[in-house]
């Protein structure tokens, strides 16, 4: 006889309303009699309803993995047990997640998605998240016995496990050059170059803590890389931005001078724009900081220049332990056209990860390490020269020894002379 559905009066209240309901989806799976996951999803609903009633979580971690890898599966075992230490919701007592890396840019053909569903219907819960916050497809809800079988099927399809624990994590890149005229970089190639170079550090976690790569094709940073990634790669350009003056005139004619002055000219953060008397645009490119605002507003008239490359920032992370940190500019501009350029990128990332592996404390992110040791020690460690683009202002306190000022000034003059 089919297992009975648990009463879920609180979850039921999340079935109404215009937004698609995950509860309706969970129930669809739980009621899918004859499918291997139906009873598991009944008990999953039972445990989730309990959380809603008591306002407590009931999962604990553990050790579950696949042969050959040390990470990438998120083990979950129920903590809800009766007086005899037996699980109250036994069919969902093991509910592990497989993190699977999507194609860069999260593109799919429906045949692939359908095949993923078939695999997950056979070995898992039938519940999938597109995508988790770190950018993985999250196949949620698998017994310990089925983890290897499910992984083998996904792996044969050409998909690999993502990162978890103190490891290089799954990366993310924006849609970029595939569909966006703002793209200044080959985002998918950067993303794949970086993550795929360090798969050993992803699949066999042995770093001090997590290390994330994220790639945005322009400074709009749709991947939130500066704020979230240990190494953020942001597309940019170093020649003049492109202005189609005929389209500028069209835009001014359509929207009016006031709109253009209020929403484009005066919104430039460095005052680099001016509207000419003939409704063309004057741009002081030397003072443009590539913020993207005017280009975002006037998509047809304005676009990034042609001399593309990337800015690299290191050390972004969220709160724990020392507070929020944005990434810091470490490479103001790197050309990324040729294979040699991409090797240089790999080498840079390798130097950062090696330095991190050797110098960070346990559970310390790159940003925290840099905060602790100072930017200069980090730069010396990875062999990068200082650059005034790394700072918002020079120091404001005098607590520094400057004995060898002349030598340091000489280095600057020599670097300047070398161009």
């Amino acid at each position: 006889m089919a297992k009975k559905m648990h009463d879920t009066p609180m979850l039921d209240q999340l079935e109404s309303g215009p937004w698609p309901s995950f509860v309706t989806g969970l129930k669809r799976l739980a009621n899918d009699e004859g499918k291997p996951y139906a009873d598991m999803m009944k008990d999953l609903l039972g445990q989730l309803e309990t959380s809603y009633q008591t306002r407590k979580g009931y999962w604990k971690g553990g050790t579950v993995g696949v042969i050959g890898y040390g990470g990438g599966v998120i083990p979950r075992f129920t903590e809800l047990v009766n007086e005899n230490k037996e699980p109250k919701f036994p069919e969902a007592a093991e509910f592990h997640t497989l993190r699977i890396m999507p194609p860069a840019g999260m593109h799919y053909d429906t045949a692939t998605l359908r095949k993923m569903c078939d695999v997950w219907e056979t070995y898992g819960s039938g519940l999938v998240a597109f995508h988790g916050q770190s950018g993985d497809i999250m196949f949620q809800g698998c017994t310990t016995d089925n983890v290897q079988k499910a992984f083998d099927e996904f792996n044969e399809m050409g998909f690999d496990l993502g990162g978890a624990g103190p490891a290089v994590r799954t990366g993310m890149s924006c849609v970029g050059a595939a569909r966006c005229e703002h793209s200044c970089a080959n985002e998918q190639r950067i993303h794949r170059t970086l993550v795929n170079k360090f798969l050993d550090d992803m699949h066999r976690p042995a770093l001090p803590y997590k290390f994330k790569f994220k790639v945005s094709g322009c400074p709009n940073d749709c991947m939130n890389a500066i704020q979230r990634a240990d190494m953020a790669v942001i597309g940019t350009w170093r020649d003049d931005m492109k202005v189609d003056q005929a389209e500028v005139k069209n835009f001014v004619a359509g929207k009016g001078r006031k709109y253009v002055i209020d929403n484009v000219i005066t919104r430039c953060p460095t005052g680099a724009l001016s509207l000419n008397d003939d409704d063309t645009l004057a741009v002081e490119n030397k003072n443009c900081v590539r913020c993207m605002h005017c280009i975002n507003v006037m998509t047809k008239a304005l676009s990034p220049g042609d001399d593309h490359g990337v800015t690299i920032l290191v050390g972004g992370k969220r709160t724990l332990k020392i507070g929020d940190l944005m990434g810091t500019v470490i490479v103001p501009f790197m050309k990324l056209d040729s294979d040699d350029d991409f090797e240089q990128l790999e080498e840079f990332a390798g130097n950062v990860i090696d330095f991190f592996a050797e110098n960070a404390l346990e559970h310390e992110r790159t940003g925290e390490m840099i905060e602790r040791i100072g930017l200069m020690n980090f730069l010396e460690g990875i062999g990068i020269e200082i650059d005034p683009n790394m700072i918002t202002s020079p120091r404001m306190n005098p607590y520094i020894r400057t004995d060898d000022w002349d030598d340091e000034a000489q280095k600057w003059e020599e670097r300047k002379a070398a161009g």
Partner: protein, 357 residues
Amino acid sequence: MSTAPRMPIESGVPDPFPYMHPTLKNNFGAWSYHDRPRPGVLHHVAKNGDQVWTVRAGTQRQMDVYTIRKLCDIADEFAEGFVRFTIRSNIEYMVTDESKVQPLIDKLQGEGFPVGGTGNSISMISHTQGWLHCDIPGTDASGVVKALMDELYEDFIKEEMPNRVRITTSCCQINCGGQGDIAINIQHTKPPKINHDLVANVCERPSVVARCPVAAIRPAMVNGKPSLEVDEKKCVCCGACFPPCPPMQINDPEHSKLAIWIGGKNSNARSKPTFHKLVAAGIPNNPPRWPEASEVVKKILGAYKENAKDWERMGEWVERIGWPRFFELTGLPFTKYHIDNWRGGRVNLNASAHIRF
């Protein structure tokens, strides 16, 4: 004799081109401009004149296979069998024939998937795991998002905000949800409750001591067993000790509250990226629909919508009008907890005679 186990193929991140819509593939790196013909639709034009219309729809992120197959059926019928997902779990269909846009929108809406999330809308809320799958959650994620998106539905399908609004939720203070124009995050208000019988067996004590940002944890013998104790006067209730030491239970059905933060921005457009700032706390963690939290969120959104200028993100708006005016417009109380006394907090104090009257 046992057979050798199957070893993984370490293939890494898949090449996206085999999974990419042909028009996107053909015009890779060769797009000219875009516009938005209506909310939920992007229209991109390539340098060679190729055009693609992208229809964006919201999903519940945590999807059953039937929902995914339904989304696939729609792609097969209207969009040449290709889709992609955005960072905020919206699905995107690309069509090269403009006449298919409206029927696709009708189909998506008919199947219950709201079309929107583009331009100056409130896009889908970024979403963590919560009670459904996390081992340290103070609240749920999917339920909070569903409840809020029901309330904000009209602003998802329309583009009527001053600029885009990106909302995040996080079910603990690690804040996997990230920065947002509005962030709704757990804020614990009581120190961890320690099960001293379990600490010695479960926790690596020195590394737990090292996790604490305020050095409030020290090793101790309790009831003859090696354990840890917390200096409750120092403790900031962040919960950093809980993941490495589950017997230090930080989650509390009553005292784990919700806090609301605003003004986070990831983009470099106009101003540099910013972190969100605390505006409200002490909000009850009240499933299944968290009405008190959504009330505060709607109040903030209402003030922003009414008062911000075009293209101002939430944080840029407050930067222009000043925080006293923000608290006045929203009616939210200003408390001593808004004043930062963490390291570097002085930078947030007003060291000027700039006062608005």
